[in-house]
Amino acid sequence: MRLPRWNRRQKTARNVLLIVLTLFLLEWSYGFPPWTLEGLLRRAERQYLLENSTVLFQTDSVGEGCELYAWNHGQILQVYYDHGLRGYWHAARLFDEEIGVFGGIDLAAGKQDGYYPIRLFAFGDMADAASAEMDVTVSYTSNQIVSTCTVQGERAAENCWRFDLERQYDDGDASQAAQREREIFSGSQKDRYSGTLRLYDDDGALLRSWDFDKFQQLTMRWEG
C-alpha cells in the first residue's frame, strides 16, 4: 500500500498535533499541575471538598518552596507549593483551628552568622488586634525544652502576625541548654514549638489568648 504524499502544510499540522499530544501526555503524567496560584488553591480546596477559601497569607520563600494559607469555614488550609516549568505542584493540609501557628526554621532563607532564622506565623481572625505577643517554648521533638522566650509580633497581613525568634544564649555559653539551642538554630535537630499567643487591642487590653503546640501539627499528614 502506498502512503499518500503529504504536502508541507499537512506535515506541519501532523507535527504540531504530535507536539501538542506530547505536551498533553506530559501534563497528564504530572497530574495536570495548575498554572496559577488561584488554580493551585482551588485544587487544594477540592482535595478537602472545600469552596471559596479566603487567602490569609503567602510566604515568598524560594528554593525550599512557598506556603499559602487560606481560611475556610473556621479551618485553615495550608498549601505548600513550588513552581517551575511544569506549573505549580503542591501538598495541602487542613487544620481544624480558628487560629493556627505555623512556621519554624526557615531553611530557604539560608544561614545568617551560622544559624538559620526561626519564624512563626499566627493566622486566623485577628484583624481587630493592634498588637500581638507570644510566649514560645522551643524544644526538641523529644520534648526536651531548649528555651523559653516572649516575642513581640509584627503584622504581616490583615490576619497574620509574624514572630521572629531570637537565640537566648551566647555562642560562648557551654551549658546544655545553650548547646541544644545552637543545634536547633543550625538545623541539626528537629524543632518543636509550643506556647501562648496573646492579642491586644489599641489600649493594650487583652482581646484573647491562644495556646498552641506546633508539634501536633507537624505530625499531621500532608496530602499531595
Binding site: 502544510r9 504530535l18 507536539i19 497528564w28 503524567s29 469552596e51
Partner: protein
C-alpha cells in the same frame, strides 16, 4: 554556456526567501535542465545549441523565482522545519518515558473502577485468598447511601455497604464468639479528569450508628475504628473502601459524615440479606 545557466540559477534562487529549500530547488532545476539538454542532443542538436535552447526553455529567471517563492513560503517553511524537529524530539522523549515506566501510574488509573453491581462478590474484601475470615464470613446485611451529596464539584455517595458475620472460637478460652466486619465503600464522582479525587478527606471521615457508636480513622485499640484500607480510581471516579470491626451486631443504620467545609453525612439503612 554552463556559466549562463549558473547565472540564471543564481537569479532564480535569489528570489526564494526560504533559504533551506534553495538547495533542493537548485538540484531539481539542474536535473530538469540536464534532461532537456540530453533530449535535444538525442535528436541531433549539438551540445552548445542544446544547452542554449534548454536554457531558453527554462523561462525568465525572475518570473520562475517569484513563482517558486510563492510555493516555498518562508513562514510555512520555518514552521514545518521547527515542527519537524519538535516532533522528532517528542517521539524520542515519549519513547524514553514509556520505556522507563513514567506513565505506568497514569495508565493503571485508566481502567474504569466499579460503578454498580456487587462490590464484594467473593467475600469480605479485606482478607484475601482462602483466609477463613473471608471464606467463612456470611453477609448478613447490605445497603447503600440513602442520598448523594454535592461538594466542590464532587458527587459523594455510598454505592455499597455490607455487614459480614464471622463465627469463630476464641483461642484462649475455647468459647465461641461472633465477630462483625462492616464494609463501607465511599465514592467520589466528578467530570474533571485532571483531578485525582478528594484525597484529603479519607482520613477525616467519621461514622456513627443508631446504637450511639462512633467510629473515626484515628486508631484506638479498644475499637471504634473506621479504617480506610483500599482505594481505586479512574479519571472520573474514586472508590475508598473502609472497614469496621466489632463484636456487637450492627444497628438499623450507619451514617458516614465529613465535618469540614460544609459538613455532610450520608446514611445507610441496613437491609437483611436472605441466607
Amino acid at each position: 554556456m554552463e556559466q549562463r545557466f549558473g547565472k540564471w540559477m543564481t537569479e532564480v534562487l535569489a528570489c526564494v526567501r526560504f533559504r533551506p529549500d534553495r538547495r533542493a530547488i537548485q538540484r531539481e532545476m539542474e536535473d530538469h535542465y540536464e534532461d532537456h539538454v540530453r533530449d535535444l542532443e538525442r535528436i541531433g542538436y549539438d551540445q552548445s545549441l542544446a544547452r542554449q535552447r534548454a536554457l531558453k526553455a527554462m523561462g525568465d529567471a525572475e518570473e520562475i523565482g517569484r513563482a517558486l517563492d510563492k510555493v516555498h513560503k518562508p513562514w510555512l517553511g520555518w514552521l514545518w522545519l521547527v515542527s519537524k524537529w519538535g516532533a522528532v524530539a517528542c517521539v524520542a522523549l515519549l519513547a524514553v518515558l514509556f520505556l522507563s515506566g513514567h506513565f505506568t501510574y497514569q495508565l493503571n488509573h485508566l481502567t474504569p473502577v466499579q460503578r454498580d453491581g456487587n462490590y464484594e462478590p467473593e467475600g469480605f474484601f479485606y482478607f484475601s485468598g482462602d483466609a477463613p475470615e473471608r471464606t467463612e464470613s456470611v453477609r448478613i446485611a447490605q445497603g447503600s447511601g440513602a442520598q448523594t451529596v454535592e461538594r466542590a464539584g464532587y458527587t459523594m455517595s455510598i454505592p455499597y455497604a455490607a455487614v459480614w458475620k464471622y463465627s469463630s472460637v476464641a483461642d484462649t478460652t475455647g468459647k465461641p464468639y461472633d465477630q462483625y466486619w462492616i464494609t463501607i465503600v465511599v465514592a467520589a464522582d466528578d467530570q474533571r479528569f485532571w483531578d485525582y479525587g478528594p484525597s484529603g478527606i479519607w482520613q477525616d471521615l467519621q461514622a456513627k450508628d443508631d446504637m450511639g457508636r462512633f467510629y473515626d480513622t484515628e486508631w484506638k485499640p479498644a475499637g471504634g475504628n473506621f479504617v480506610p484500607v483500599r482505594i481505586y480510581s479512574d479519571p472520573f471516579r474514586t472508590l475508598q473502601y473502609f472497614y469496621i470491626n466489632q463484636l456487637e451486631p450492627p444497628g438499623e443504620w450507619i451514617e458516614v459524615s465529613y465535618p469540614y467545609g460544609e459538613p455532610w453525612s450520608i446514611r445507610v439503612n441496613w437491609e437483611e440479606v436472605a441466607s
